[in-house]
């Protein structure tokens, strides 16, 4: 399946939950938020939500800013 993660497309095989994807991208959990196709996925649901072909995922965290 094709996923777009923070603007980069990626081809993957098999199923992949939000939790699996986040763990691959960033070690920290605190300070991380995820949206799939523009909808926020609460942290408590990361393990339950499987990604599907064509999904657009944003994985955001704290950056310096006023």
């Amino acid at each position: 399946m094709k996923l777009t993660i923070n603007g980069q497309t990626q081809d993957r095989s098999g199923t992949c939950s939000v939790a699996t994807l986040v763990a691959e991208i960033i070690a920290a959990q605190r300070g991380v938020a995820v949206a799939v196709n523009g909808t926020v996925v609460p942290r408590s649901a990361w393990g339950r939500v499987d990604l599907a072909d064509g999904d657009r995922i944003e994985v955001l965290t704290a950056a310096q800013g006023g």
């Binding site: 923070n6 603007g7 994985v59 800013g65």
Partner: protein, 247 residues
């Protein structure tokens, strides 16, 4: 109360390094600092662990948003990321001035208040818009003294005073402060706090400037409480004429 007791909120944007930022946070003695939300690959590591170590609270912002929809989404992401209902709501009108888009700002504020957020909107120095934001349930209003990062100080002190008089929520002077006297003036005008980023983080010595701002905020607050003398057009002698010698 979500505002720091010492009246100084530190914006973390503009610092050269995390180490310089850490020194500024410590010197400011603040308990509340802003952070932005960015894609993990662009954000760089270490900011949140450092702030957690210092024991300061995080005030996430919606910097970079130009529509109410984007700002609402960013706020919802921030709540998820930082486990806080606090949000510094920014909805920018254009890149050149970075001044708020009042229409989009009010719309986003109404949605976020209804969604349970503690909304601190970055607004213009328009007293009517500030009142509308307060009426919409915002927990504070944060008028710009002048454009973000400009260091021009408070361009319209009368409007800041009108905002202070016109709303029942705390007023935080946000944006435009260039140096310590600007921060003192904000407090003298009756603001409850100031939010400073660039003036500290982009100064030659951020830690020293953070300390200067802290003292300025304290001085301005004390002066406000003490009650300044009225302005007059002519002199008023402070030394009595009685008993003056005759030569």
């Amino acid at each position: 109360m979500f505002l720091p007791e010492n009246g100084l909120i530190l914006g973390t944007g503009g610092a050269n390094s995390l180490a310089a930022l850490e020194e500024a946070v410590v010197a400011s003695e603040t308990t509340l600092v802003t952070v932005a939300l960015r894609r993990v690959d662009a954000a760089g590591p270490g900011l949140l662990p450092m702030l957690d170590r210092l024991g300061v609270r995080v005030l996430p912002n919606t910097a970079g948003c130009y529509t109410s929809g984007d700002a609402v989404k960013t706020a919802q992401m921030a709540r998820e990321a930082f486990e806080t209902d606090l949000i510094k709501l920014e909805v920018i009108g254009d890149e050149r001035t970075l001044l708020p888009d009042g229409v989009e700002l009010l719309k986003a504020a109404e949605i976020l208040v209804a969604d349970g957020f503690t909304v601190l909107p970055y607004t213009s120095d328009d007293p009517i818009l500030a009142r509308r934001l307060a009426d919409a349930g915002c927990a504070a209003v944060m008028p710009a003294g002048s454009p973000i990062g400009s260091g021009l100080g408070i361009s319209n002190p009368h409007h800041i005073e009108l905002i202070v008089q016109g709303v029942d929520v705390p007023v935080v002077l946000d944006a435009g402060i260039g140096t310590a006297s600007d921060a003192a003036l904000a407090m003298e005008l009756g603001c409850d706090a100031v939010l400073i980023a660039s003036a500290i983080t982009r100064s030659d010595d951020p830690a020293a400037m953070a300390a200067a701002m802290r003292h300025a905020v304290t001085a301005g607050r004390l002066a406000r409480a003490a009650g300044r003398i009225p302005r007059r057009f002519h002199a008023l002698a402070s030394t009595q004429d009685d008993g003056i010698a005759e030569w």
